[in-house]
Homo-oligomer: 377 residues x 2
């Protein structure tokens, strides 16, 4: 069967006389497509450390920096920017990304518009490395958008007025500091907290003592029994919580199905969903999905997952890591189609090197620039 | 929950003080986006009857014409073309399409790039009417592609060299006429036949007496028992058949699952699949899907279904009705990503009014024109 399929696609099977297929001359096509004769893709990259405004605390430890890799993909004098963000607990690093990117032969491609072929090559060049893969995907989208003179949200037909509010993360801390952080979050309309510790109720009550803004809850697999999880969800539901992300272990599909059946709030898959191949298996177990460019490998995969998630009847959320405005602006191109957005990664650092999407009155605000809409500062 | 979702999306829920959100002035945006101040969408349409080169025979009767509706969507002096094709047995007609299109208020839209909003409006304006809806979707894609100066296959990142061969339909007839038709099909590398009658084996044997080209089989729900279907499939598999489309009733999911489990050939859903909402339910019952613009409502839905079909591990086929080169060229924009194509609708008529994609050596051949790549003859 695959041979027959290949025949259809490339005419490789000899059944009946097969004519030589004259196609358009590649030079003719390239000229009209805005490509340049003789030009080819050129990839460069360098590490950069993001400095967090506040120390970031997780069960696995505390840190004040996040390592990223900045990517530049050049073609005929036009540069597309990309970024890989690699929080240490996810397994990638500047070293692994550097090794992955060094192994790519991008100069074999003389037409940046063959995005399907190029990104298939990147995907297949090594397993894993999804943040590094996302950096190339983002840079290629930025480059082709610039070559076409269009922002991606427009090519996808999204209304820039329909961008969502972004939630803003309030880190776990002492009650006094939490109250202070909530005050500092005044420009944002939705708060996000990470639960899954002994202090869950205290954290929510501390926030509620100073704000009645909607809260998104991310448990990061922290709750150990479904009964406790359901009790907490009901408690949270009475306190204007919007959804609960990954309440239990990502490997425990069945408990999430049990919760989704009973929960008054959406149960959103985060750790349980990485790439498109994971998506269909979540049907019936979760009611929402959190898509992140660094998990799935970039804008192309994210866009396909969003469409499929919609067909599955899922709520769709777009999340991020700590990132510059480069990767955040890339994610924001897709944000008019999501239900929930957590795109605050660039707001948490004090050494951004890109100017891109902004947050105005708590709402993600796209600009008219082509590609992903960024300029380097 | 839907209220909370709406809050995220449009800031409608009062929880915490909500700032007035200043967004980019629409004039500024429109100007940069290539739109024109004061311009609006204008829709016109007229009926046209396609004349078939050969009388077309189905179980339901014979005919030599297919009614279509040609649509023109104008914006700021640029015209996008669309088409609805309405074979009578599918329930739409020039009358129903005219009524549907007359009911649309397209001039409310002043920015053609808000494709998501516009096509959501078209979709929701009435149930059914998928060919009529497809005509607007195609015209809008043609229009926006022209305004951006790009063909859609390029914006989607598809390699125009990866277009498939199209199959060419050999109508059921007497052995002498069938042999004659096979000779006339010399430019095409793949043949397609409709089975499901008492003459199935005779038809295949007649073709095989003069050609060993691969054959695609469309049963149109014609086989009544799964055992007979499986026996026929094995017989066909020995005669270089590529796949079998809709062997049994579209309502009999279970028999198709039984066949898919046992069949050496892909079992492709056609009548069982209309719109995106049907797709996920086919998992495990079919191994392939036949997507047609006139069934699903246009290029946007078709593209999303293709991505999801891929995630489901399905073979993806693109089909058509009898159509001018307008709707065929629209479908062809997506064809580099399909496994099988049956895009011969324009080849079967002798009064085409568009020049668009061509078939060269049996292979679909895209051009560099923007939008869907057509000019009116």
């Amino acid at each position: 069967m695959s041979n027959r399929r290949d025949f259809f696609r490339y005419g490789a099977m000899a059944a009946g006389a097969i004519a030589i297929v004259p196609v358009l001359g590649s030079c003719d096509r390239q000229k009209k497509a805005g490509s340049a004769a003789g030009a080819k893709l050129s990839l460069t990259f360098y590490p950069y450390d993001l400095h967090l405004k506040h120390v970031f605390t997780l069960a696995s430890g505390s840190r004040q920096t996040t390592p990223v890799m900045i990517v530049e993909l050049e073609y005929d004098g036009v540069v597309g920017y990309g970024e890989a963000s690699m929080p240490p607990y996810l397994g990638e690093s500047q070293e692994t990304a550097g090794k992955f990117l060094s192994g790519l032969n991008m100069s074999q491609f003389r037409d940046p518009f063959l995005m399907g072929d190029i990104l298939d090559y990147v995907e297949k060049s090594a397993p894993g490395n999804y943040a590094a893969k996302a950096s190339v995907d983002i840079a290629l989208h930025d480059l082709t958008g610039k070559l076409m003179g269009q922002p991606w949200y427009k090519m996808w037909g999204y209304n820039p007025d329909h961008t969502p509010y972004t939630s803003f993360t309030i880190g776990i801390d002492t009650p006094d500091v939490v109250r202070q952080k909530v005050h500092e979050a005044e420009p944002y309309q939705v708060l996000k907290v990470k639960l899954g510790l002994d202090t869950d109720k205290e954290m929510i009550e501390t926030i509620r003592s100073v704000s009645d803004k909607p809260i998104c809850v991310d448990v990061n697999q922290g709750w150990k029994s479904r009964e406790h999880a359901l009790e907490m969800i009901h408690w949270l539901n009475e306190r204007n919580v919007v959804f609960v992300e990954q309440p239990m272990s990502k490997t425990d599909l069945e408990s999430h199905g049990w919760l989704t059946e009973r929960s008054p709030l959406p149960i959103v898959a985060d750790e349980a969903l990485q790439t498109p191949k994971d998506l269909l298996g979540l049907k019936g177990y979760y009611s929402g999905i959190n898509i992140k460019l660094m998990k799935c490998g970039g804008m192309r995969a994210a866009h396909a997952m969003m469409n499929t998630g919609r067909m599955m009847g899922m709520s769709v959320m777009m999340g991020c890591m700590t990132e510059t405005s480069c990767a955040i602006s890339a994610a924001a191109q897709l944000s008019p189609m999501v239900d929930f957005a957590d795109l605050d990664g660039n707001l948490l650092i004090d050494n951004d090197i890109f100017d891109g999407v902004t947050v105005v009155g708590g709402k993600i605000t796209l600009n008219d620039r082509p590609g992903i809409g960024v300029v380097k500062i």
